[in-house]
Symmetry: C2
Amino acid sequence: MQTVSENTCFGGIQGVYSHTSKACGGDMTFGLFLPQEAKDGPVPVLWYLSGLTCTHENAMTKAGAQGWAAEQGIALVFPDTSPRGESVANDEAYDLGQGAGFYVNATQDPWAPHFKMWDYVAEELPALITENFAIDGERQSITGHSMGGHGALTLAMGLAGRYRSVSAFAPICNPTASDWGRKQFTAYLGADESKWAAHDASILMRETGFDGPVLVDTGTNDQFLDLLRPETLADAAFARRQEGAIRMQKGYDHSYFFMSSLMEDHVSFHAEALYAD
Amino acid sequence: MQTVSENTCFGGIQGVYSHTSKACGGDMTFGLFLPQEAKDGPVPVLWYLSGLTCTHENAMTKAGAQGWAAEQGIALVFPDTSPRGESVANDEAYDLGQGAGFYVNATQDPWAPHFKMWDYVAEELPALITENFAIDGERQSITGHSMGGHGALTLAMGLAGRYRSVSAFAPICNPTASDWGRKQFTAYLGADESKWAAHDASILMRETGFDGPVLVDTGTNDQFLDLLRPETLADAAFARRQEGAIRMQKGYDHSYFFMSSLMEDHVSFHAEALYAD
């Protein structure tokens, strides 16, 4: 693992690190914020999964999460959204290939050799950061934006017992019924739709739900509401009386201005779960 | 004036607007955050001047100021750092020409026709925003980063009575004795160094000071400390018993991570002055 940069930030350290990923078959870069409490021992961690076109860097610089994480003594991890590089498959569209991993393990060519973002975020990166940094693997929560909100919700419901709480900003809620999903799942997972269900938050919510609190915020002026389909997730969540809140926030759109505005609330929400016994 | 974008942000509006500037002889773009209180009447305003290579956008997306401004009911203005465009003079160096206006009125060719950033920030833009938005011109304060910290300090001391408070993050404090200053002043203002003094915060502090509180923060790990020369400003400020604080912040560098970490403190500092009677 190599240190790309480390900046003092809210009394802690905002680092960027690169490493050779077995899961993705190449170099991967991630951001990690460690609050000053990490000097004294392992701290809880909140995963932040980013959306289409983002790298590890966007949320790290624009979401305004570090201040609230510092206040709560929580680490933040910012993984990249896909494998990258000249030897990695790509597509001209912004929503397929590099920058658009959708947090699945691709089984279809040309994506299968590198696009294993599920394994990367679920297995490889957690092992790496708990081994190399003062992070308490028993206290993890997860959030994300748009495609990353989809990732956060599907990982949280797919890995029972892993995360204490899950939240999402403007998540893709029902990708099997959306142009943000059907194209990508066909490419990465193949045409057999039965293989897609494990990566659809609304289906997972209907079938299994989440054993802990869920918080989902979407803006009423989000320009991608028809692609996100928050109503489908809400239907499923309320049908099973899922603990948590699914909210529409007046006036907000799909931008980082939305996320930064609600970030204090989400970090506080996760802190409550992470510090509960 | 044209609206480039408007996003709901912390209950207010983060807008971006462009207009034809008389001072700079071409189109200029600026960011303006209006808290929700602006719906009910004019609000105080904090100017944020950016550093080398920045546009109106960097601080607007990375400095994390809007949340604190919203909490205090204060507007934020983010001007660009220079005139721009193909018809505007430029230089290959990152620290001269476009993106490096240094908040002066250039008198030398090829810069003189467009590089009038002092007039733009001191006269034209204040008139524009107080006329078009709910901004109280009687309650203005100013801050900035690096070259923008230099701009904030020199404007505040040069325009007595205009601003109620001034702060700066890692400002260029003594440009007449720094490679961040001598080259640019020679280019923009000519070789006669007597013309430079009005744009050197340390000289202004020695000669006139500021009639109000001053807050300056610089990181102990700032990679540009030798160019910034905070010690010269501190000497001048303490010699005249200037009201305020000039501080070194342990571990921080020159990045936006530094600014965002200290932003709550700076906005609170300005709020106290802006809301005093």
